[in-house]
């Protein structure tokens, strides 16, 4: 359990956390704008070690030299980085007395997603019943992890309690100057999760599944680092199916995964940030750098993502397959409706021998949206017997939307094999009619067909989220037929 969650729980229950957890509630905020003093202020507020401040400053100086990339197949208004507030005290949401005070539209969506009542309250800031003893749940959870030797805490806490581990791995997968947004994130990141699974340990539970509310406190520039030591394995889930509103327009997260020999990391994302209205007003820009390093032999990293939110999405969860016999996987569903734009895909870099990668991408476009798959498969000279299989399917609903596929394939080794298959189809009127003729409503028919189309990806999600993801797809498509 992260402090963010505990803090929230404490706020909700009005109790202090009794196991000696210290969370300072900062009261001050900075004015908008970015310069070195802002970075010093952030680092100081978080009581970071000196090397971390230097690291941030270096990233900032790199960032100043860089330019905003423009190769993506998306259009958006320029971002004024001097108008962003880079540090503000954690905001306390206005506390409501009951769900009656919450926007009924939001509640309708929660209901459709099947989110339990108590959780709905937590998500919307309604006082939680004393019966729902979140604190004790959080405690049990934390104890169980500690028993296994797993470290799972906010990045800011890790920097204080496990500085050596952080120092060793942070930026080792995504260097500070990797790209424009990664550099910005490195300079100003607010918080995020840190996970360390020691040698030989299988993490006893799905991480981050207990409290979706976690995701709400991670902020605009989130930084996540997950390390699985030799033979360790972990499944981590980020995000939640409940619609997420946020007044911060830009989200630029960095996620780094490190898998040592025989380690296995499964990282699943459900992204449902505010997509803007039907005319494309408002909505989040989601520019994320996610990369997994299969550093050890026989290591295995698997990305699964269901992307339905945001006005503009730009992300390519990637795997660097350094270890011999390592495996990288990418399973993606990206759904765009109305005026949404998504440019997403993956990179698989084969460096070690007998490395394998597997890519399944399902893009669904509806309304006036644009959905692009962009994928790179690169096999380096020494990666003998590398194998890649890519399957990339697009489903179009209506004729005002777009689907695009840009595969980049570079093979530098003659014993390797790279296969790419792509299809584009329109949702079949005959399929919908077949369903409605059996009594199924048109809306349910579409969601059934879309669910079938995404099957190979959805089955990779942790069970409880697969059901919600299914409903989420249906909700995201509302109003796209008929």
């Amino acid at each position: 359990m992260t402090t963010a969650t505990e803090q929230t729980i404490n706020e909700f229950t009005g109790k202090g956390y009794k196991h000696g957890f210290v969370t300072e509630i900062e009261s001050d905020s900075l004015p908008p704008g970015l310069n070195e003093d802002v970075i010093r202020f952030i680092s100081e507020k978080k009581k970071e070690p000196d090397w971390m401040l230097e690291w941030r400053l270096k990233a900032y100086r790199d960032w100043l030299e860089m330019e905003m990339p423009d190769w993506q197949n998306v259009n958006f208004h320029p971002i004024d980085f001097q108008k962003i507030i880079y540090y503000s005290a954690p905001k306390k949401k206005p506390q409501l007395d009951s769900l009656d005070e919450v926007d009924p539209e939001l509640l309708r969506t929660y209901e459709k997603l099947g989110i339990p009542l108590e959780e709905q309250k937590m998500l919307t800031g309604v006082a939680v019943d004393a019966v729902f003893d979140s604190v004790s749940v959080a405690t049990t959870f934390k104890e169980k992890l500690a028993e296994a030797g797993v470290i799972f805490c906010p990045m800011s806490e890790a920097l204080q309690k496990h500085p050596d581990l952080v120092k060793k791995y942070i930026g080792s997968v995504v260097p500070t100057n990797d790209n424009y947004f990664a550099a910005l994130n490195s300079a100003v990141f607010s918080d995020g999760s840190f996970v360390y699974i020691p040698k030989g340990v299988t993490c006893p539970m799905e991480l981050s599944t207990y409290f979706r509310i976690n995701a709400m406190n991670t902020g605009q520039f989130e930084r996540t680092l997950i390390i699985a030591a030799e033979g360790a394995s972990v499944s981590y889930l980020e995000g939640c199916t409940a619609p997420m509103r946020d007044e911060n327009q830009l989200h630029a997260a960095v996620v780094e995964l490190v898998a040592l020999d025989d380690a296995h990391i499964k990282y699943s994302t459900i992204q449902n940030w505010y997509p803007g209205d039907e005319n494309g007003k408002g909505g989040i820009y989601n520019f994320v750098t996610k990369r997994g390093d299969c550093r050890g032999d026989r290591s295995h990293i698997s990305w699964t993502q269901v992307e339905t939110g945001s006005a503009v999405t730009w992300k390519y969860p990637s795997c660097v397959l350094k270890g011999d016999d390592s495996i990288g996987e990418f399973y993606s569903v990206a759904l765009t409706n109305n005026r949404q734009q998504a440019d997403t895909g993956t990179k698989m870099i084969h460096i070690g021998k007998n490395t394998r990668s597997y890519i399944v991408s399902k893009g669904i476009s509806a309304g006036f949206s644009d959905n692009t798959y962009r994928g790179q498969v690169k096999v380096l000279k020494n990666a003998s017997n590398a194998r890649n299989y890519t399957q990339c399917d697009s489903l179009l609903m209506g004729d005002k939307c777009g689907a695009h596929t840009f595969p980049y394939i570079e093979v530098g080794n003659s014993t390797s094999q790279v296969e790419h298959e792509a299809t584009t189809s329109k949702i079949g009127e005959d399929q919908i009619f077949y369903c409605t003729q059996r009594g199924i409503s048109e809306e349910d028919a579409v969601s059934l067909i879309v669910n079938g189309f995404c099957k190979e990806v959805l089955k990779e999600l942790p069970m409880e989220f697969a059901v919600e993801a299914d409903k989420l797809l249906a909700i995201s498509l509302e109003g796209s037929v008929g």
Binding site: G428, E429, D430, Q431, F433, Y434, C435, T436, Q437, R438, G439, I440, S441, E442, D444, A445, L448, I449, N451, G452, F453, C454, K455, E456
Partner: protein, 257 residues
């Protein structure tokens, strides 16, 4: 006098501006089995699709009264929930959607329409087992995606199996016999016969009279050029087989018996 299950009056329907049905009349009472025969392209499938509510076809004239209600006013799913079932001539594949998942969605939609609770998982399995026997369908098909990779015969059995599960009032079978070998035809026919009852009616669309040896209809109609040109009993089908469709095509229209 019985109230008809369905009354089709002076039905005209177009596709892409081309008139396919050109003044079709047909009345089916509860419990009756009607057969529609006719040459290729005469509008048999069009009739079936119009009854089921496919919106690619535009009804330009006429009316269809189903159990006293205006059928043309209902969406396809509503018609299905009210008991109209079409066994498709060419059932479509739905990749990734398990047959059981699809069937449960269908049953529950119908139940919901009737104000009943959802079927529980065990009851559903029991129901599927029982109805599969009716058409000797292989249980493994249930675990596969809807119609995906099914053979022609499997698809047809699957249609009749769904019909048995959903227990409709008006069963429209569009050339269910074509593509079936003689054994499969007999099995499917036995399944249909087992479903015959005093309040279930059938509209059998077929190109050959062969099917009618196994499912004996109360009435046979001949459809030519979007109109019923002749009606009779089973004898008409036999005569058609002997003389071919050119015989009725030459007859003056509207020789309705």
């Amino acid at each position: 006098m019985t109230t008809p299950l369905i009354e089709i009056k002076n039905l005209h329907a177009n596709i892409d501006g081309q008139e396919i049905l050109r003044g079709l009349d047909l009345t089916i009472n509860p419990g009756e089995v009607h057969s529609i025969m006719g040459p290729n392209g005469s509008g048999k499938s069009t009739l079936a699709q119009v009854l089921a509510g496919r919106d690619a076809f535009e009804v330009t004239e006429g009316e269809i009264i189903y159990e006293g209600k205006d059928l043309l006013d209902m969406d396809p799913d509503e018609r299905a929930c009210e008991g109209v079932f079409l066994a498709f001539q060419y059932p479509v594949e739905i990749p990734g959607v398990r047959t059981t998942q699809f069937l449960k969605a269908a049953i529950n939609a119908v139940r919901k329409h009737r104000g009943e609770d959802e079927i529980d998982a065990l009851d559903a399995v029991k129901l599927f087992r029982e109805k599969m026997k009716l058409v000797d369908m292989d249980e493994s098909l249930l675990k596969r995606a809807v119609n995906e990779g099914f053979s022609g015969g499997e698809k047809k059995r699957h249609e009749i199996f769904q019909m048995a599960v959903l227990e409709p009032k008006l069963c429209i079978l569009d050339e269910t016999d074509s593509g079936l070998d003689i054994d499969a035809l007999r099995i499917v026919a036995d399944g249909v016969n087992a479903m015959r009852s005093k309040d279930r009616s059938f509209l059998l669309i077929t190109h050959y009279q062969r099917l009618l040896d196994y499912i004996v209809p109360d009435f046979v109609h001949v459809l030519v050029n979007g109109r019923i040109v002749q009606s009779g009993d089973k004898g008409l089908a036999l005569e058609l087989e002997k003389k071919g469709y050119s015989w009725v095509e030459k007859e003056p229209a509207a020789a309705t018996a």
